[in-house]
């Protein structure tokens, strides 16, 4: 607990890390208060962006649509707000599941060593042998598009990082005499893992996970951009960017930036979101890495 307070105090000492914390908190509160910030048009399915009309041509910002509308008259503001929920949901679910699988496999491999280690790490290598993006696309092609399937595909090809991190970390911690002392005291293996090995080796994984909170939703957005993710009309930043692709430069001459709002608002949101988590991850790394904590 003392360590935790120390970490917090350090975090609030640097302006850069404060910026990261503020950005992350901002997005968290947007996600929480989404129904107030942008009341759903279809309460039974709030993630569907409301459409005002069917015209293909985007409409500029107006009092009804403060960020304007994108291709197909989807409200950009609504998409940005509810897309935050999508992004966080994808991040938390994918990273959460990948952490569970990765920590389990990495811990067992490092603790038991020998052939268990060999077997588990070769399985990890097999998954790592696939190029990440190609592997994910192949899995989605097999199980079909959609947000849930995207999350499964990402989990399947993302747990290896955590497994390797925690394994290396535990191999290092295992050499400490307090682990041997625990054996001498008769502490059972399970408790050695949960009381000694994991608490002392989890930090690199926490740092990596906070960094990944930025990249995983970006990858999901990229898949949506390719049409493999969310269904048409689902509030998702990647989908908004995908809609904007024909309007980045005005297709029929005239002012080239006439439809700037279609790409500006979604991309600024994505950049700020990724920036926030990256700054937070950087801060955590600076604080936790040089074994300053204790």
């Amino acid at each position: 607990m003392e360590g935790f307070v120390k970490v917090l105090r350090k975090m609030f000492r640097h302006p850069v890390s404060i910026a990261g914390i503020i950005l992350v908190l901002l997005f968290l509160s947007i996600a929480i208060f989404a129904p107030l910030l942008a009341p759903p048009a279809y309460p039974w399915n709030p993630y569907m962006m409301p459409q005002s009309g069917l015209s293909a041509v985007p409409q500029p910002p107006s009092p009804q649509h403060i960020f304007g509308t994108t291709q197909g008259q989807y409200d950009i503001y609504y998409g940005v707000i509810w897309g935050t929920r999508t992004a966080l949901e994808v991040g938390v679910v994918v990273i959460g599941l990948a952490l569970v699988i990765g920590i389990l496999i990495g811990t067992l491999a490092a603790y038991f060593g020998g052939w268990v280690d060999e077997l588990l790490m070769r399985i990890t290598d097999i998954f790592l042998a696939f190029p990440f993006f190609v592997g994910v696309i192949v899995v989605i092609t097999i199980i079909g598009p959609g947000i849930t399937n995207v999350m499964w595909a990402l989990v399947i090809f993302y747990w290896m990082t955590y497994a390797r991190l925690i394994r290396g970390s535990i191999l290092e911690v295992k050499e400490n005499q307090y682990v041997m002392a625990a054996v001498a005291l008769g502490t059972p293996g399970g408790r050695i893992i949960t009381r000694h090995l994991l608490p002392n080796s989890i930090y690199p994984v926490i740092i990596q996970a906070s960094m990944d909170m930025a990249t995983i939703p970006l990858t999901a957005a990229a898949l949506s951009f390719l049409g493999l993710g969310a269904p048409v009309g689902y509030a998702d930043w990647g989908q908004l960017a995908s809609f904007a692709r024909n309007w980045i430069i005005t297709p029929s001459g005239g002012n080239p930036f006439q439809y700037w709002y279609t790409i500006f608002f979604p991309s600024v949101t994505i950049v700020l979101y990724a920036l926030g988590w990256n700054l937070l991850g950087d801060t955590l790394r600076d604080i936790l890495d040089p074994r300053m904590l204790i």
């Binding site: 003392e2 360590g3 400490n176 005499q177 307090y178 041997m180 002392a181 625990a182 054996v183 001498a184 005291l185 008769g186 502490t187 059972p188 408790r191 009381r195 000694h196 608490p199 002392n200 204790i294």
Partner: protein
Amino acid sequence: MTLAEVKSIQTTQNQSKNDQILLEVKNLKKYFPIKAGVFRSTVGWVKAVDDVSFYIKKGETLGLVGESGCGKTTVGQTILRLIEPTGGHVFYNNVDLFKLSKGQMKKYRSKLQMIFQDPYSSLDPRMRVKDIIAEGLKAAHIGNTKERYEKVRDYMQRVGVSPTYMNRFPHEFSGGQRQRIGIARALVLNPELIVADEAVSALDASVQAQVLNLLDDLQQEFHLTYLFIAHNLSVVRHVSDRVVVMYLGKVVEIANKHEIFSDPLHPYTKALLSANPIPDPTVKRKDRIILQGDVPSPANPPSGCRFHTRCWLAQPICAQEEPKLEEVHPGHFVACHFWKNLEDQNK
């Protein structure tokens, strides 16, 4: 040394002090594999401990000395089965510990405890002192949380760390205090034998003295038996009743403290003693024995007597025939072909 010979040694011992022997180590071997190549095949063995036998009497302190890498620590750790032995037996109250399953061994864990060398690495930095000391009690299912902490308080008092600090983390203590906490952790289980593996070598001289005196007091209070592993001869001389000298995985000499220091019968022991500094600048040292060369690799030990490559008494026989550990005087064992020459020199 064959088993029969050890038996004969032990029986002579057993006849007089059978009820007093607490722990008997017989032909203990620990080889570490050397792995190489793509398939990690075993290409050789590091014979860290090779056929070591000795016994510890109830209530005594047995010093185990030797230079770095001679296998002292490995002996301590294999006795407690913290690393699995390659061969041999360890009898604790006539139970062979090496024949027990891991589950059966759990029952003996609390009776055989260890104090570790490094007070910084031996305490988990993320656990409170009270939980560190109570860990063994919890593993042995002794008492409830409240009773355990009560015991923790009691033992902190005994080892000289104020119980008001029980909620602190290890990094808030000095090296000496940490070592006291390590001692309390071992002691709280009420053990019979404590293996102290270089327990004071990481501490300052003044703190060393405090901790050694503490160990001495605790020995009398709790009737403890110590296996005291060290490389510092002055410390061993201070604490031990008997001393075992190891060289390259083998026992070369066992004797009581006075005999080993005044009448060493193995050339290695003699060289080791002559290297011990005398804290008096006016003393002229004429008897200093300087050994030539380095300690040979335990992966490829010399033939015959392992010490013959560096021994000034070595004869051709030493490279061919391994000397047996023999009882040359009552309670004084030595493994050397020419111990008589040394005995004459000593006179």
